[in-house]
């Protein structure tokens, strides 16, 4: 469907990748850890190695959670835009198939949030 208007309605997407000064927007969510109320949004360089995302970006974002240091990263289950995904740690985000406004989710089996509440 499309908008009904009295004139030719221009399509002006506000968040295209060119607006982000060389970065791309990436959304990240840690499933079943709602102490962080929602997924987060970050502008990241497309060449950022996936390993750096885990070591720096996720540590900054989620390090306050009591379960964060207990994560066994070799057992983490990744989802990219809703599909199971095996990241290449040395490749950059773009080379891992992570596009502008992609959603990266991770699940940590055995860690079910504060007191098992999904928090």
């Amino acid at each position: 469907m499309s908008v009904k208007a009295l004139y030719d309605y221009p399509v002006v997407p506000k968040d295209t990748v060119e607006q982000f000064h060389g970065n791309q927007l990436v959304f990240i969510g840690w499933d079943q850890h709602l102490m962080f109320c929602s997924p987060i949004a970050l502008p990241l360089p497309p060449a950022l190695p996936f390993a750096a995302l885990v070591e720096q970006v996720l540590t900054d974002a989620y390090g306050q959670h009591p379960e964060f240091t207990r994560i066994d990263w070799s057992r983490v289950e990744w989802l990219l835009d809703g599909q199971p995904f095996t990241p290449n740690p040395v490749a950059g985000l773009r080379d891992n198939g992570i596009g502008h406004k992609s959603v990266i989710r991770f699940r940590t089996p055995g860690l079910n949030g504060i007191a098992g509440s999904g928090s």
Partner: protein, 504 residues
């Protein structure tokens, strides 16, 4: 002496008879917006205003409402009424209301001025003009209340500026801008019917009754004074719907889609009200869940049974709103607790007594899903590490609220919905918001999403203090936890001073 006119004659003389047939311009040029939405009106003369209010009576009753209202506001100010509220925490509910809703009242004023001009029928024009004046009156009364509270509490100092910039205020702002940029029939369906008739009772009735319970007579008075106009607005909303449905069968699916859209948009906006009711009133009148049952499930249900005869069903996804009633206020409050460093009001954790109330009102959800999170946060705060989320949230493209809502089949799982439009990805908090986008993608791709705008460099800088400065939000004064706030310190000082006065 001539016999006095009866009500119907008087209404006809003083509304319908004000119109005239244009002679030197075609009606299509005078009312150019009336056809493009697809609504077909056969005869504007069939418009019935059940209130049959004429302008002379309107001014008389409104003047009386104003006299009563300002008498209370004056006496509240003269008697330092702000000291009689239950607790200074309460004022934070008011900050959210007055910064989020008051500018929206002004948007409604502008919207009704525009649609009053757009409609060809005199009955509709007069009703819209009255509502435009009402909405302006509401803003004015609320600005007086802002003015009073601003003398004693933080966060009220620049509500207009904040409305255009602060991240969570983009939620009500974009809601009204969506309505104002639609055609006149969609606007009036959105605001008069879906928002006013179906949803504003949730805003005004339990919340204003809550304000009374918490000693805030200034707010009760502007709230109920506004709501007394709302009864007329609601009647207008219902009349508009019935009028469109009766005029042509082709109107039914268009109106149904608007009801679906604006119910969902309005319901998402009410997340803010849910958390006000359950968390921000020191003395609570009823829970969000009880209010939703009373005002939506019961009264809304009866309304839609009435409308079934015109071919209208309950708004799409209403069942989701019923499932979410056990979670909505907790998830919203937890979000503001996460981002309390970036809000123009204070947040806090409920005390033990309040948690017992929440557990009693929400036996199926609170202790299991929310209490453990809160107890962790309280322990962290006591250890000197009050939790704030260090990252900015992902927002829904349609409602602009952080993606905080979870799947009702698994309340620990955030709902992710997405679509692609012209090669670009878009994300949503719900099926309701995704449907709205997909119906008019050209409209929502332009959304000014506050988080994305910060990253594009349009909001004063890349750090939180720079953004707060751009918001005109005073870091350390207007934001962060109530426990450490200047508001709380002042409040304790004033209460101590007044109790000493009483004992001497």
């Amino acid at each position: 002496m001539a016999k006095p006119m009866n009500m119907r004659d008087k209404y006809n003389r003083m509304t319908r008879d004000l119109g005239w047939e244009p002679s030197y311009q075609p009606k299509s040029k005078i009312y150019p917006q009336i056809e493009f939405e697809g609504i077909k009106i056969e005869n504007w003369e069939q418009w019935e205003d059940p209130f049959r209010l004429t302008m002379d009576a309107y001014w008389k009753y409104q003047a009386e409402k104003e006299r009563k209202l300002y008498a209370v506001i004056d006496s509240f100010a003269q008697n330092n009424g702000q000291l009689n509220i239950t607790d200074a925490r309460y004022v934070n509910a008011l900050k959210l209301f007055l910064t989020g809703i008051s500018p929206a009242e002004y948007s409604a004023h502008r919207g009704f001025s525009m649609v009053g001009r757009a409609f060809p029928g005199v009955g509709a024009q007069v009703a819209c003009q009255m509502q435009a004046v009402d909405e302006l009156r509401h803003v004015q009364t609320q600005v007086h209340t802002i003015s009073h509270y601003n003398k004693y509490f933080n966060g009220f100092q620049d509500f207009r500026h904040m409305h255009d910039r602060v991240w969570y205020l983009s939620v009500p702002k974009s809601f009204f801008e969506d309505a104002q940029t639609a055609g006149p029939f969609e606007f009036i369906t959105a605001i008069s019917f879906s928002f006013e008739y179906v949803l504003t009772n949730l805003l005004f009735m339990p919340f204003m009754s809550g304000a009374a319970f918490n000693g805030d007579m200034a707010t009760v008075t502007f709230g109920f004074s506004a709501q007394s106009d709302e009864a007329r607005h609601m009647t207008l909303g219902l009349e508009v719907i019935k009028f469109m449905l009766q005029q042509h069968p082709d109107n039914v699916p268009i109106v149904q889609r608007w009801i679906d859209k604006w119910f969902w948009r309005g319901y998402r906006l009410l997340s803010l009200v849910a958390m006000m009711m359950d968390y921000m009133l020191p003395k609570r009148v009823m829970s969000w869940k009880e209010a939703w049952e009373m005002y939506f499930e019961q009264n809304g249900g009866a309304l839609f049974e009435d409308l079934a005869r015109y071919g209208i069903r309950m708004p799409k996804y209403w069942e989701v709103s019923v499932q979410e009633k056990d979670h909505l206020s907790h998830q919203t409050w937890a979000t503001f607790y996460n981002y309390g460093h970036a809000a123009a009001f204070h947040t806090w954790m409920p005390d033990a007594e309040e948690m017992a109330w929440l557990a009693a009102k929400y036996p199926d959800s609170f202790d299991r899903w929310y209490r453990p999170r809160y107890e962790h946060w309280i322990a962290q705060e006591k250890a000197g590490h009050r939790f704030y989320n260090p990252s900015l949230p992902m927002l829904c493209q349609t409602c602009q609220i952080p993606m905080l809502y979870t799947d009702m089949d698994d309340p620990t799982q955030v709902v992710y919905r997405s679509t692609e439009y012209q090669g670009e990805k878009y994300h949503f908090c719900s099926d309701g918001c995704k449907d709205i986008f997909e119906h008019e993608p050209e409209k929502y791709v332009q959304a000014w999403l506050p988080v994305n705008q910060i990253y594009q460099g349009h909001c004063g800088g890349a750090t939180v203090p720079e953004v707060l400065n751009w918001y005109h939000l005073r870091d350390g004064q207007d934001n962060r936890d109530y426990l450490y706030s200047e508001d709380r310190q002042n409040w304790l000082r004033w209460k101590e001073a007044s109790s000493q006065l009483e004992t001497t």
